[in-house]
């Protein structure tokens, strides 16, 4: 058969040794089977400890890399995602604050602070306003550009007067039990905002109304929407996705 397409000198030399070829083939097959067996699994159980150690190491590296001066700037040519911006919540239905049932919405700033506060939306919006055009990064790999308007959390923290023991912040919500806790450095980054406006309008319920935390230094799932409480803490307090196995630090 080979003579049909190979020049004569090549055909003469055609000498595939069946045995060694089969042996090589069997070896390759076994290797492939082993690979397949491990595929789409979470890998060997024994590796889980190693992975946890790697995550702790990565958190140290990420914290060491962190700079308050490092800024997110959305690319000049990028289009605002607008209605294409994915919207996520964990409740069965879109969470909307029901004033009739729950009274006026207030944002509690508490925990390890000298002057705990309960801010109405009006009081929040009366504070120094920052508007930033930012590129958002989701853990899934997509990014989206939006203009965020709100109050820097560092400003709220300054007004509340942080106690020196405060090392972490927990952002809690009325979207079921959704919350995520952060390291203080990320929370006090100048681009970390308590957001009440998006793309020039008030925040819509799909995107976390009346207010949410937003920072480009954290992956999307760390940015609690439907915010009710900002609690300064001495210890980490996990989070909705962090407790399910996503990296707690989730830095960008």
């Amino acid at each position: 058969m080979s003579k049909l397409w190979l020049p004569r000198h090549a055909a003469e030399r055609l000498d595939v040794d069946r045995r060694s070829f089969l042996q090589a083939g069997l070896g390759a097959g076994a290797l492939a089977a082993l690979t397949l067996a491990g595929c789409n699994s979470q890998g060997p159980k024994s590796a889980q400890g190693l992975l946890a150690a790697a995550e702790r190491w990565n958190e140290k590296v990420e914290r060491a890399l962190f700079r308050h001066r490092a800024m997110n700037v959305a690319p000049a040519g990028a289009t605002l995602a607008g209605a294409s911006f994915p919207s996520y919540f964990i409740s069965a239905d879109l969470p909307v604050w029901d004033e009739g049932a729950r009274g006026a919405w207030r944002l509690e700033v508490g925990g390890l602070v000298q002057r705990p506060a309960q801010l109405t939306l009006g009081e929040l919006m009366a504070l120094p306003r920052t508007e930033l055009r930012l590129e958002h990064f989701c853990v899934e790999g997509w990014s989206a550009v939006a203009v965020r308007a709100g109050v820097p959390l560092a400003e709220l923290a300054r007004r509340a007067g942080l106690l020196p023991e405060a090392r972490y912040v927990d952002f809690q919500s009325f979207d079921d039990a959704y919350h995520e806790s952060w390291d203080l450095d990320s929370a006090l980054h100048p681009q970390t905002l308590i957001v009440y406006g998006q793309d020039g309008r008030l925040l819509e319920p799909a995107f976390g109304a009346p207010a949410r935390v937003y920072s480009p230094v954290k992956l999307g799932y760390k940015n609690t929407k439907y915010l009710t409480r900002i609690l300064f803490l001495a210890e980490k307090s996990g989070g909705y996705w962090s407790d399910q196995g996503y990296a707690w630090y989730g830095g960008v």
Partner: protein, 269 residues
Amino acid sequence: MATTKRHHLVVRITHWVNALALTIMVGSGLRIFNAYPAFARKGESFCCYPFEGTKIPDWLTFGGWLAGARHWHFAAMWLLVANGLVYLGFIYLHGEWRDLVPRRGVVRDAWEMVKFYLALRRDHPHQGKHNALQRTAYFAMPWVGVAAVVSGLAIWKPVQLAPLTHLLGGFVWARYLHFLAMLALVVLTAGHVFMVFAVDPYALRAMVTGRYNEARSPELRNARPFVNLRARPGVEASSPVAAAESAAEAPPSGPKPPAPPVSEPPRES
């Protein structure tokens, strides 16, 4: 039969650690990619990927779910980088890099190899430890690896390493580059593994034990993919080239191979 030392222990260990780390990185990376198997920024389109939105088949992925795959990816990246640095440091200090950087005439030599594989040339060119195609592939591998690591850093930390991400054209392009680098690594690796099994299975032993039988080299077997896989018994003794090479490479204390018949033409029948 006489074998010669081909790969240093450090090269063999880093080779197999690299194979493991790359497998984990590619498998977990594809699982991460499947969470958003597209490149377009939300609200935009992307010019240069024809399969936007199409997932990679699950059986090609590793890590089970997005968070699991991310843990594997961000753990194995340290193994990949540390192992790569040991390898590059070693071949630099030990001089092996000389066998891998392209030499003058590499294009001509590569063309001769292509001609041989296409059966447009009868005899296997003799181009040293690695032929020009191997040299090019093994030289490209670390560079593509560097591209994968750098683009990976850019999409891991697009804010903290914003200047790097910006240099690569922003997050979307950096992510695309990361994907292309992965693709190039997969293609290089697939070609490499194919050639090992189809042309030089004896190289597998060399990458495990370090020993290689030069008499079974593709040059002396005149091996193309699936052609002359087996070293025929007569070849070692009757080929003056084989005899000369094994004599040159054999330890001096070893018995001398029989003198080659000079009258015979070098090519085996």
